[in-house]
């Protein structure tokens, strides 16, 4: 059986852990932007890393992507991608209240992404009695080829990954960003073990 085949209960449990983490990350974002963040139900699906770069570019004509690797105990690891449409990334300075030339767009995107990623993953880790460490976030070159190359070069270099997609929608500013977590097959096995421990209590 593939590591990706989560049972209904395992998928439900993972979704609920994600909901709680997403809620606290959105609270941080709302406080940072002094506004309200609309949340949707997150999606969880299995993807090939080669198709991911294509889908990113199909879904959004052009995107800016900030990537940050994470590593916990018990073999839990993955990559968090924060995906911004260029129309949103270009106006991020206005949203954050920066003066022109105060901080580059790249630095602003990295700051915002780091807040979302670390808040989300710290809350997620706490729920499963784990603790995460992070690589430095970096802004990826835009363009389909560059994204594809990057995704192939990720440290875990897997063909398939579990993709968790969370959309943060800031309605006051018509600003959206997607957080995409890519969890490789080797880490899924460990996450399933943790989920099974949680489910034993229910």
């Amino acid at each position: 059986m593939s590591a990706f085949n989560l049972s209904e209960d395992q998928q439900d449990c993972l979704q609920e852990l994600i909901n709680v983490a997403m809620g606290q990350a959105s609270d941080q974002l709302a406080r940072y932007l002094d506004t309200f963040v609309h949340l949707r139900v997150p999606s969880i699906e299995q993807v090939s890393t080669t198709s991911l770069s294509n889908s990113l570019n199909q879904e959004q004509e052009s995107v800016a992507v900030v990537s940050q690797g994470f590593l916990g105990y018990e073999g839990i690891r993955g990559e968090a991608l924060l995906v911004y449409q260029h129309k949103d990334s270009d106006c991020i300075g206005n949203i954050l209240g920066y003066e022109p030339d105060e901080l580059s767009i790249e630095e602003q995107l990295i700051d915002l992404s780091s807040i979302l990623t670390t808040t989300f993953l710290n809350v997620f880790a706490k729920q499963i009695d784990n603790q995460m460490s992070y690589n430095a976030p970096r802004l990826l070159s835009s363009g389909q080829d560059a994204l594809a190359v990057y995704l192939q070069q990720l440290s875990f270099n897997c063909d398939m990954a579990l993709k968790v997609k969370i959309t943060y929608q800031v309605t006051d500013f018509s600003f959206n960003c997607d957080m995409i977590l890519l969890i490789p097959e080797s880490a899924i096995i460990h996450i399933k073990a943790v989920i099974d421990r949680i489910l034993e209590d229910y």
């Binding site: 439900d12 609920e16 909901n19 709680v20 809620g23 959105s26 139900v41 729920q127 489910l199 229910y202």
Partner: protein, 121 residues
């Protein structure tokens, strides 16, 4: 006297979490709903004393349920239990008539305190 309780959450685990957090000495009859539409069907067809309501759900979300409860004048105390802990959201649900807001994952002690504060225990 037994209270009729409805738990509305799209997550099976979250529904179980609420059930096991209910005070053991509180006599209740529990029903569950997987989304807002299912919850409204139950609320329209029978008297429910307490609704434990999630916010982020498919079909019809928790805010939609609160709006319908107000519009249709359905009598029921709503305890929102949500991961969406933004202060603005907490204000919003209270404005829409919710009795209380509790953050996920709900804890038995917190739930009991809120039920006591609002006169259910």
């Amino acid at each position: 006297m037994t209270s009729s309780v409805l738990i509305c959450d799209d997550s099976n685990m979250a529904r179980k979490q609420v059930v096991r957090s209910l005070p053991s000495h509180w006599p209740v009859e529990v029903q569950t709903a997987k989304n807002g539409l299912e919850a409204l069907d139950i609320l329209r067809s029978q008297a429910i004393d307490v609704l434990f309501l999630d916010l982020t759900m498919p079909e019809l979300d928790g805010l939609g349920v609160l709006q319908k409860i107000q519009e249709e004048g359905i009598s029921c105390s709503v305890f929102v239990i949500s991961a969406d802990v933004q202060p603005a959201m907490q204000v919003k649900v209270l404005e829409l008539g919710a009795t209380a807001f509790l953050r996920k994952p709900v804890e038995a002690e917190t739930l009991m305190d809120e039920l006591q504060v609002h006169g259910f225990l």
